[in-house]
Symmetry: C2
Subunit: 199 residues, 2 copies
């Protein structure tokens, strides 16, 4: 099988898994159901992914990769820290509250091995927060960059993820994201001196 075709098949399998995950939760998602929906055979599923956790680990990795690249691109911009944060915050919030992240965090919460959670953390927060800290350290070398990054995360994300995952909060639309970001960045600017009214 050609590499391109296998990649395509994997995408279809993972898309089917996301659908079933949304409908039935992690416990209700079986390899056989995913195989059937993706028109793959059970044997192929086990050959390619090893087991159910292997399938979800692959999905988590792929999602983290895509999200990480997107955030790194925004963080690597050559503009000022305030402008970068204005770009990064809505992207970050949209990603962590998006359907895929929510589905995968639910899977991780349900995974008794803890594997999925580790992969999520490695590819997510642990990858991105140090970059934010570095950016802030360059802007304000007199303040603890890590504490500033933690403040940024607390204000932008807060407890929205857990509320989203248990169903207390629905998916935010662009306007809601913009409002939260504006509020968070205003508070952040007042505390850190970074960003604020500058255009």
């Amino acid at each position: 099988m050609e590499g391109g075709r296998r990649a395509e098949r994997e995408r279809a399998i993972e898309a089917a898994a996301y659908e079933i995950l949304a409908e039935r939760g992690y416990g209700g998602t079986s390899m056989l159901l995913v195989a059937q929906r993706a028109r793959a055979s059970n044997e192929t599923m086990y050959r390619w992914y090893g087991d159910k956790n292997g399938l979800f680990a692959a999905m988590v990795r792929r999602n983290a990769q895509a999200a990480g690249e997107r955030l790194e691109a925004a963080l690597g911009s050559s503009r000022g820290a305030g402008a970068i944060l204005r770009d990064v915050a809505p992207v970050l919030l949209g990603l962590v509250l998006g359907e895929r992240a929510v589905a995968l965090n639910r899977a991780a919460a349900a995974d008794p091995t803890g594997d999925l959670g580790r992969i999520i953390a490695e590819g997510g927060r642990r990858r991105i927060v140090p970059l934010i800290a570095e950016l802030l350290r360059r802007e304000r070398p007199d303040i603890d960059g890590e504490a500033l990054a933690e403040l940024f995360i607390a204000l932008v994300i807060g407890d929205q993820q857990i509320r989203r995952i248990v169903g207390d909060l629905g998916p935010p639309d662009d306007a809601a994201i913009a409002r939260r970001v504006a509020w968070a960045l205003d508070a952040f600017a007042r505390l850190s001196g970074i960003g604020g009214d500058r255009p």
Copy 2:
């Protein structure tokens, strides 16, 4: 069966469920396993709780009740807002990051019906945040009380819950809670003018 004895049995059943939940996750926790560990019969479990979700709903309600009462007691104090927040914050943080809350949030994340999440939200955040908002409104009638309460939650709790639930963060000890609370209340005081250096 006498009311007191049944309450006692229910406690034992729920304690057994928490143990198995911690060992095996929600999907790996069965009514039969809980029954065996609590020396209750399968028939009693189904008669008392209806089904597995019924058992967990009862546990969520009981935990929310206990936590809510504890926070309300701290919030109902006659001291000033700053002093109350200093009391409430570590209690709140200890509760939301404690083993029981984590276990139940994991169950809610794994529950495809969404029932557990609704019960958690009703008995938790939706009950407590308006009380915090009211307290802050009394202290600073010139500022939006709800926005202040959201700021308080963001700073004190942030994204620690989701990190706790996916296993990225272990249970915090008292010193870690105190550090987080001090940091959060300092930032809160600087933004709101409530609390801060006053003893």
